[in-house]
Amino acid sequence: MKYLDEYRDPALAQRLFDEIRRITTRPWAIMEVCGGQTHSIIRNGIDQLLPPEIELIHGPGCPVCVTPLEMIDKALAIAARPGVIFCSFGDMLRVPGSSMDLFRIKSEGGDVRIVYSPLDAVKLAQQHPQREVVFFGIGFETTAPANAMAVFQARQLGLKNFSMLVSHVLVPPAIAALMESPVNRVQAFLAAGHVCSVMGTWQYNPLVERYHVPIVVTGFEPLDVLEGIRKSVLQLEQGRAELENAYPRAVQSEGNLAAQKMLADVFQITDRAWRGIGVIPQSGWRLSANYAEFDAETRYAVTDIHTTESALCHSGEVLQGLIKPNQCPAFGKQCTPRNPLGATMVSTEGACAAYYQYGRFIRAEEVGVAQ
């Protein structure tokens, strides 16, 4: 397939590995922000083929994983209401709330539906005027234009039976929070390519300057990830901290201006709690005043939520890059994709799910001992 196969070429990957090995003289810790990149890295064994000096730290860029527990519990309460059609991306169904998940609501008779696009939820609202359609609007900047368009269309169509439970999060404030953390080990970032396709790259210049950290906009195919790593290592070795674009075929510096215009109309910046991490100021979007009538949080005014996280789950530390998934005592034992204790084991972008799916059951230090 054009624009995929060329970027999976093993011979070229070898050249990139060789080049990275050639330029690496010291240990470096690089964070890939996006969970899509984490899966590409683990699936292709990139972390195992890099020189041992390079450590990849898996970042919090998994929207399903960082959606706060309180929001999941609100979603469960709304989805359980009679008359509601609750629409969500498929990843969300198995994410554990305090006592159950959306799958359980569905099996107990709730009308929970998986949609491919947020516009499918708008269509359902048109088709079922007597029902209330609620869409779970989660995601990073990549997904936000799609969710914004759904709300925009609902208003254009005059739909009174459509609303959105919004839990949008933003990458740059998360990078700032990681850099501010006293336990931070990250020395360079691979920024999420498709987030930058939408928002452009200009938002990252202040971060590079403030924290003197290299940020390389990176794609998702194996060669793209390797190129992001190569550019990062080159900067680190030369003592540079710059913003670079290793994914120019899909990312322009100004981003997608039409999408940004819609986002500015539909959403406004808000503080957001990140599951496993805590509240990060100004790190999310909520519906703007113009679209307040479509806000499911106010329409249903769910209160009396008392959240309880699993005591065994260490996903917060995984999301902050403090431990690898297979260093969690519950990994692959009490916690599996079929019976997940944390969202990182559920999502196709969760680091725990990647480690489980590709058989990374042995802890890194045990491999070291074995060698």
């Binding site: 397939m1 054009k2 624009y3 995929l4 060329e6 970027y7 070429d9 070229l12 050249r15 990139l16 060789d18 080049e19 050639r22 996006c34 969970g35 899509g36 860029g61 998994c62 929207p63 399903v64 991306f89 990843d91 491919y116 696009s117 947020p118 516009l119 499918d120 989660i138 995601g139 990073f140 990549t142 997904t143 234009p145 799609a146 368009m149 269309q153 254009q156 169509l157 999420a192 498709h194 987030v195 396709s197 939408v198 998702f220 060669l223 190129e227 290793a246 120019p248 075929r249 899909a250 990312v251 322009q252 997608n256 039409a258 999408a259 819609m262 999502s347 196709t348 972008e349």
Partner: protein, 88 residues
Amino acid sequence: MCLGIPGRVLTIYELNGTRMGKVDFNGIEKDVCLAYLPEIAVGDYTIVHVGFAITCIDEQSAQETLALFHSLGVLDEELNAPIIEKQL
């Protein structure tokens, strides 16, 4: 969730006042919202995320990136290549 799939625009049409298109993903056709790419034309490649085209793929940049990968290590190979190969 930030997964984006490259595809080629086959047709462009309008639905509820929104610019839409049929996009081909290696033989699989899907309806995709093109509202955020007002310049995109039939035959162009785009990256699609949850049913939305978010960016046009720039062919020239794509080729330049691949050319860069091909060039890596070339100098090294030439300097270290066996003499007999160099003569060929």
